[in-house]
């Protein structure tokens, strides 16, 4: 099945849920990202029960701090 992750096509060999997809994407901790599935921000509690479907568009939004130090 083919999906899009952050704009890039990705081929999945088997059905996965969002948690498993994050592992495939080498996201080390679930708390590092927010997940947008087909335009809707997903609740973290639903990661495990949400299965990825053909043609799904998924955006992984990463936390970024930066700017000044010590502020």
């Amino acid at each position: 099945m083919t999906i899009r992750v952050n704009g890039e096509e990705k081929l999945l060999e088997k059905e996965v849920n969002i948690l498993e997809l994050l592992t495939l994407q080498e996201v080390k901790m679930v708390e590092m990202v927010s997940v947008e599935l087909n335009g809707e921000i997903l609740d973290r509690d639903d990661f495990e029960t949400t299965l990825v479907k053909e043609n799904d568009a998924i955006e992984l939004l990463y936390f970024m701090g930066g700017g000044s130090f010590g502020f």
Partner: protein, 269 residues
């Protein structure tokens, strides 16, 4: 407001733009922008807003200039090491453009002072140039409560991102995208991860662009989008984000009733 000859010359490249003109330049000179954090993001944002003739610029920072700041915080110079960042920032702006009135706030923002600071000059637009998630969520919540437009941004390593919040426009806020600050250790700090110095220049300058466009009422802002920049791939992306009805601060049933002081900076030294 009448322009003097020096102003006509100083802003001539703005005035010649039909989208700006004399009227737009006047708007800029009458506008007030608050920049929270004068570091990697705030430094270039402040400098371009000052050069553009934003008439009042507020600078908030509790810190002093450190030698390790100078790789990216271009508003501060070698001679400024040890100086308060707000003082150093004010001096740089004053030397660059005498039209700008700089107001300094030598403090950290926290739940008990941020609304006062925002209201102090009734700022038109706020720029989040802070480095830590506690401050970022605080600025977001305060701007939602005070109904102030603001630009959120973050940078790390070779990546940056930003979005613009505009009140009463069904715009998603930062908390619509990210529910709450990440737990400690989940996200590397700048100090652990490093950051290419120009990242603040690219993203902070885009924040200044958003402020200027908002003031001028010009074109499309990043309201409703998260823009990401990957300097390794040399790729910009605009990710469409919807308002989140479950958002804790701007959703249908906001769970946050008052501002929150989160734990100390993730990025502190």
């Amino acid at each position: 407001m009448d322009f003097n000859e020096a102003q006509i010359e100083r802003y001539s490249r703005h005035i010649i733009l039909s989208e700006v003109g004399v009227e737009g330049q006047q708007k800029l000179l009458e506008s007030k922008v608050l920049i929270i954090g004068t570091g990697g993001l705030g430094a270039p944002a402040a400098m371009f807003l000052a050069a553009a003739g934003v008439g009042t610029i507020g600078l908030v920072d509790a810190d002093s200039v450190d030698l390790s700041n100078l790789q990216r915080q271009i508003i501060h110079q070698t001679k400024d090491v040890g100086k308060l960042k707000v003082v150093s920032g004010k001096e740089t702006i004053n030397e660059m453009n005498p039209d700008v009135n700089v107001i300094t706030y030598h403090t950290f923002v926290n739940a008990s002072n941020i609304l006062e600071i925002i209201k102090d000059q009734d700022y038109d637009f706020i720029i989040d140039g802070t480095d830590n998630f506690g401050a970022k969520f605080l600025i977001n919540d305060a701007c939602v409560i005070a109904k102030k437009p603001f630009s959120h941004a973050g940078i790390i390593r070779f990546n940056g991102q930003l979005t613009t919040y505009i009140p009463d426009n069904n715009t998603p806020c930062y908390r619509c995208m990210f529910k709450e600050p990440p737990p400690e250790g989940a996200v590397p700090t700048c100090r652990e991860a490093g950051v290419l110095g120009v990242m603040g220049g690219v993203i902070g300058t885009l924040q200044a662009t958003e402020a200027i466009k908002y003031i001028l009422g010009l074109g499309e802002t990043l309201a409703g989008y998260l823009m990401t920049y990957d300097a390794i791939k040399m790729e910009f992306r605009k990710i469409k984000i919807k308002h989140n009805a479950k958002c804790g601060i701007c959703g249908d049933e906001p769970s946050i009733q008052e501002l929150i002081d989160y734990k100390p900076p993730v990025c502190s030294l």
